[in-house]
């Protein structure tokens, strides 16, 4: 296990290196100029030039790239041009919001997605299957932005059950935190539930047609034990793979949800950073997200060996 972990970590090094170069290149290749944003829409060319000099953006491209790598090696992810703070502290302030949104959304997604996917597989090719898969298809097809705005109008304006937007830290009030986060988390889950249900159904269908399931039934095991224990355990490997994807899409999807519900998370930070051409901020966040995704993939790889003893990497 230790060898496997080490091997996977070593494999991650070139990935991180490529991500860091791409992060720098992508932002630098974008048209537009952070100096223009900072100096204001109506600033004179001299004012813009002054800002550019102040920020070091007038230096040659390779020099800027060199400085970026030098700082990375020293563990510095840079400082935001707009926020007057380091990328790490800007992310640190916003990460709890995004993580709690993603966490709550996964907590909603997993039981519902797996349960309805399993039910659809069990009742395959009946009206129950068609209904569940139809709803799941809606979940993955409806634009998150549209359904999120609609949910605000229904649950906040018409029914008055939940606040329309904003964030309350959990240490301030757990109940208010939940009231603020539940609607965004459900909206973020819709796509994921649909996706997970379809994956679970597919995996379960595959397992339910295996010989050992027929054997289990023929030796008189109850349906619950057959499906819940034997079939599900074997379908779990696909669900674990899906979880990695779910976590990644939760972090990615949070960009839209945070925008609609005015949540001060990392997604909104990135959007503002891109609009303002805040190069160091977006580059830093991309790199840190690169680390996170590598870590998620590593965790998924390691979980395989736990879920399926046949899986070995050596």
């Amino acid at each position: 296990m230790a060898r496997l972990t080490l091997m996977k970590l070593l494999q991650a090094v070139p990935v991180i290196l490529i991500v860091s170069v791409l992060a720098f290149l992508l932002m630098s290749l974008l048209p537009g100029d952070p100096a223009v944003v900072i100096a204001g829409d109506q600033a004179s060319p001299e004012a813009i030039e002054q800002v550019r000099r102040n920020l070091g953006l007038d230096r040659p491209f390779l020099e800027q790239l060199g400085i970026w790598f030098l700082h990375l090696l020293q563990g510095q992810f840079g400082s935001s041009l707009m926020l007057n703070q380091t990328v790490l502290s800007a992310m640190g302030e916003r990460l709890p919001v995004t993580l709690s949104l993603a966490g709550l959304s996964i907590a909603i997604t997993l039981p519902i997605g797996i349960f309805v996917g399993s039910i659809a597989a069990y009742y395959r090719q009946t009206w129950v299957d068609s209904l569940i898969m139809g709803v799941a298809l809606l979940g993955v097809s409806i634009p998150g932005f549209w359904i999120a705005i609609l949910s605000v109008i229904v649950f906040s304006v018409i029914l008055g059950w939940l606040p329309s937007s904003g964030y309350v830290p959990i240490d301030q009030s757990a109940i208010e935190w939940l009231r603020a986060m539940i609607l965004p988390a459900i909206m973020l889950s819709l796509f994921q539930i649909g996706f997970l249900a379809r994956m679970t159904r597919s995996a379960m269908l595959d397992v339910l047609s295996q010989d050992f399931i027929r054997t289990a039934r023929s030796k008189g095991l109850s349906e619950w034990t057959t499906v819940g224990k034997h079939a599900f355990r074997n379908a779990l490997i696909l669900v674990i793979t899906t979880m990695g994807i779910l976590l990644s899409t939760a972090l990615g999807g949070s960009v839209v949800i945070e925008q609609v519900f005015a949540l001060p998370g990392v997604g909104r930070l990135v959007v503002q950073g891109i609009l303002a051409r805040d190069y160091p901020l977006v580059q830093g966040v991309m790199l840190i997200y690169g680390f996170v995704f590598v870590a998620i993939n590593l965790a998924v790889d390691l979980l395989y060996t736990v879920a399926d003893p046949r899986v070995r990497y050596d």
Binding site: P31, G32, D33, V36, V37, I38, A39, G40, D41, Q42, A43, S44, P45, E46, A47, I48, Q50, V51, N54, M82, L83, N84, A90, E93, R94, I149, V152, I153, S156, V157, G160, P163, S164, S165, G166, Y167, Q259, V260, F261, A262, P264, G265, R268, L269, Q272, L275, A276, R277
Partner: protein
């Protein structure tokens, strides 16, 4: 030696505004018809996004300025009629040669940290402004500052400058006074300490910002009440909480549920959602700016003045404003009505709202146009800009022009206009609100956006403007400037435009003055 005192500041030496205010429609405030103001309560205000910085010397965006103007104050400020009025000064005197300005300060004014405002703070602030502000060139004429006593500041200039006070009252990159201890702080790195009626409370980036009533605030008692950005300011609210909600639908939802009492930037098509509730209302803030088609005079076909004029002749203003919606009023001038440099009903250009494809075709023929491509650049961020340029494209096609529309993002679009880069002939933008102050604020934009180079008549008109001590002569120079800019179609004026905000009716005392959000003298009728 001419001096300008508090009471007669607007009629003084510069006299801006005083000569032209006979037909003013701006009411001082709506408070008179309402119940007596009540202290207390927290106003929650939904705005698009949070400020990046609260350093006034480097701030030009609306979301920053609508906090800054409630927290900081300058020596002088715009009054209700867009004339100059003292704020932290009691008197400003200009020497006969326009090379020395003397400011006497109001006594007993306190910063939020409890220290009293003195001339050392003013000197330190202006010196810092010269060091860090993108707008620093406006103080380039200053040779030295002198502080003969704690309540007097003297600015010695290298060259005569008759419009210095007009510059100092600018609400954008405002010349706010900070404590002297902030002098060496870098751009965007100050402690937020001002002399305004509110002080900074909690600020959670991307989430919310709170300003609290400053109980040590010392108002300008020489004024009867509020007066634009100046006058006697009274803070009734205990606090104001700015909530940053980027989505218009969510801002409106927050207003409908009572979570906020004021919301900015309401799209015209959604105003009904607010007006259908009796406890809510929509306010038109007008004018906020002027919208223009920018013509790139250094790129391809539009380097030819006849081509630019042909484009001007083809444009139909009503079609554009009907398509974009919002609050718009036609005005051929580059100054708003009711401001000192507004020059009357007639137009400075024969090309305003001509809407004549025939005339355009005639000019195209003279220009030797051979169906070459005219490139329109617009952006994906602002729908009104995109709509404007799509309508303009159709109008130009109607006049026989070959048009290509290119959509980029606003940052790129703005950079191309400001720096004269990119490949484009036409684009659009909104200028405002600082250009209500006059031609001196207009100058960098006039030259930069359409990339004007080598126009001797324009250069001469600007030289005449800055040399004229007499306002009438400056107005005459401004006419010539506009005749060049609009007559030669470097820019094509569309309209003056405003914006909508939504509010709960229990929020009382909002001013009719169309400036940046002012939170003094407003109160909540049912506090809390």
């Amino acid at each position: 030696m001419a001096s300008v005192k508090r009471r007669d500041f607007s009629r003084g030496m510069l006299g801006l505004g005083a000569l032209f205010l006979g037909a003013l429609t701006l009411a001082p405030a709506t408070a008179s018809a309402e119940a007596a103001p009540k202290k207390g309560g927290t106003l929650i205000y939904a705005t698009l996004s949070g400020p990046g910085t609260l350093d006034p010397h480097v701030s030009s965006s609306a979301v920053e300025l609508e906090v800054i103007h409630n927290v900081f104050e300058g020596l002088v400020a715009l009054d209700n009629q867009n004339a100059t009025r003292p704020m932290l000064a009691t008197k400003a005197t200009m020497s006969a040669d326009a090379k020395t300005y003397t400011f006497e300060l109001r006594r007993g004014v306190k910063f939020h940290n409890g220290d009293e405002l003195t001339s050392a703070d003013v000197k330190a602030s202006l010196e810092r402004y010269q060091r860090v502000s993108p707008n620093a060139k406006n103080l380039a004429d200053v040779e030295r500052y002198e502080t003969p006593d704690p309540y007097t500041v003297v600015l010695h200039l290298k060259a005569p400058n008759v419009v210095l006070l007009d510059v100092l009252k600018s609400p954008i990159f405002p010349f706010m006074i900070l404590p002297a201890s902030q002098q060496d702080k870098p751009a965007r790195g100050i402690d937020v300490i001002g002399t305004g009626p509110f002080s900074l409370g909690e600020w959670v980036k991307d989430s919310h910002l709170v300003i609290k009533r400053f109980d040590g605030y010392v108002p300008d008692t020489s004024a009867p009440g509020r007066d634009g950005y100046a006058g006697r300011k009274t803070a009734y609210l205990d606090a104001v909480r700015y909530r940053f909600i980027p989505e218009a639908t969510t801002r409106i939802a927050a207003l409908q549920t009572g979570e906020v009492q004021l919301a900015s930037s309401i799209p015209t098509e959604l105003r009904d959602r607010i007006e259908q509730r009796k406890e809510l209302a929509v306010r038109e803030v007008f004018p906020v700016g002027g919208t223009y088609v920018i013509v790139n005079s250094q790129y391809g076909l539009t380097a030819n003045v006849l081509m630019r004029q042909a484009i001007g002749a083809a444009i139909d203003i009503t079609e554009i404003t009907d398509a974009t919606g919002g609050v718009n009023k036609a005005n051929p001038w580059m100054s708003f009505p009711n401001t000192p440099y507004y020059l009357g009903e007639s137009a400075p250009t024969p090309w305003y709202d001509v809407k004549s494809p025939a005339k355009a075709k005639e000019l195209l023929k003279k220009a030797g146009y051979k169906n070459e491509k005219i490139i329109i650049e617009t952006n994906s961020n602002y729908q009104w800009m995109r709509t404007t340029m799509l309508v303009v494209a159709e109008q130009l096609k109607r006049a026989g022009m070959n048009v290509d529309v290119k959509v980029v993002d606003w940052t790129t679009n703005a950079a191309h206009m400001q720096q004269g880069t990119g490949e484009w002939n036409l684009s659009t933008t909104l200028f405002g609100p600082d250009h209500i102050l006059g031609p001196q604020q207009w100058r960098p934009m006039i030259y930069a956006f359409p990339s004007i180079k080598g126009n001797d008549a324009l250069d001469a008109a600007y030289q005449a403007f800055f040399a004229a001590a007499d306002l009438e002569k400056r107005r005459a120079a401004w006419l010539k400037i506009q005749q060049q800019v609009l007559g030669d179609a470097y820019m094509i004026k569309i309209a003056d435009s405003g914006r909508l905000s939504g509010y709960a009716r229990k929020l009382m005392g909002q001013t009719d003055y169309p400036g940046i959000l002012q939170l003094w003298d407003v109160w909540l009728d049912q506090a809390g």
